[in-house]
């Protein structure tokens, strides 16, 4: 499991955005958004910045590094 936590689900809920809408905005599949939200997949730096830009917040507000977890 990657040691990256994120607040995408909360940020999406605040803005009433669906997973598909976020996926379309950042150019990935809905399944990839699901995997990122579940902390199963760490996105590339480019995708991480795109997500932060869509929500209009700093990268650190979306992703937090908590070290390597088992």
């Amino acid at each position: 499991m990657p040691g990256l936590r994120n607040t995408i689900r909360e940020l999406r809920a605040e803005r009433g955005m669906t997973q598909q809408e976020l996926a379309d905005a950042i150019g990935v599949t809905r399944q990839t958004v699901i995997a990122i939200e579940l902390d199963k997949y760490s996105p590339s730096l480019e995708t991480a910045f795109k997500i932060a830009r869509v929500f209009g917040v700093a990268l650190e507000q979306v992703f937090q590094y908590e070290g390597r977890r088992k």
């Binding site: 150019g27 990935v28 599949t29 809905r30 399944q31 579940l38 199963k40």
Partner: protein, 143 residues
């Protein structure tokens, strides 16, 4: 199937095609004489079936895109497939050396040629199936 991405659906299609074509081929030819025509027929069958299945999957899927996670999973699949192929090749060469040193193979060019055709074709098929299954497992585990 509604929650599956286009890439994952495509992989399931490939797996179905591989099992439908390769399984009967190897079960039926296990203890029978093989021929170039049978291998060519099998390759032709898998190509035709893949075209049909992939066309259907593409027609019923709205979002047909490939992203960074798809590419990562694809690489994992190819790595698993390559390692399987390399391992089988080493095993095959070892067995060839073992049987040759014991004099098990009759020195008959036609027989040895068909035997190698079957063995190497089998290695390619197993590697391909391992590649596909690895990718499907990665999608099912979210990565």
């Amino acid at each position: 199937m509604g929650s599956l991405s286009y890439q994952e659906r495509s992989l399931w299609g490939s797996l179905v095609a591989e099992l439908v074509v390769y399984l009967p081929y190897f079960v039926l030819n296990l203890h029978r004489a093989n021929s170039i025509n049978k291998v060519a027929g099998t390759i032709f069958s898998i190509i035709v079936l893949q075209i049909i299945l992939q066309s259907i999957i593409a027609a019923v899927t709205r979002h047909r895109m490939k992203d960074e996670r798809d590419r990562l999973i694809q690489l994992r699949g190819y790595r698993a497939g390559y390692l399987t192929l390399a391992s089988l090749m080493v095993l095959g060469l070892g067995m060839l050396w073992f049987h040759s040193s014991r004099g098990d193979f009759p020195i008959h060019a036609g027989f040895v040629g068909l035997h190698f055709l079957n063995v190497f074709f089998g290695m390619l098929v197993i590697s391909d199936i391992v590649k596909t299954v690895t990718q499907i497992v990665a999608y099912r585990r979210a990565l």
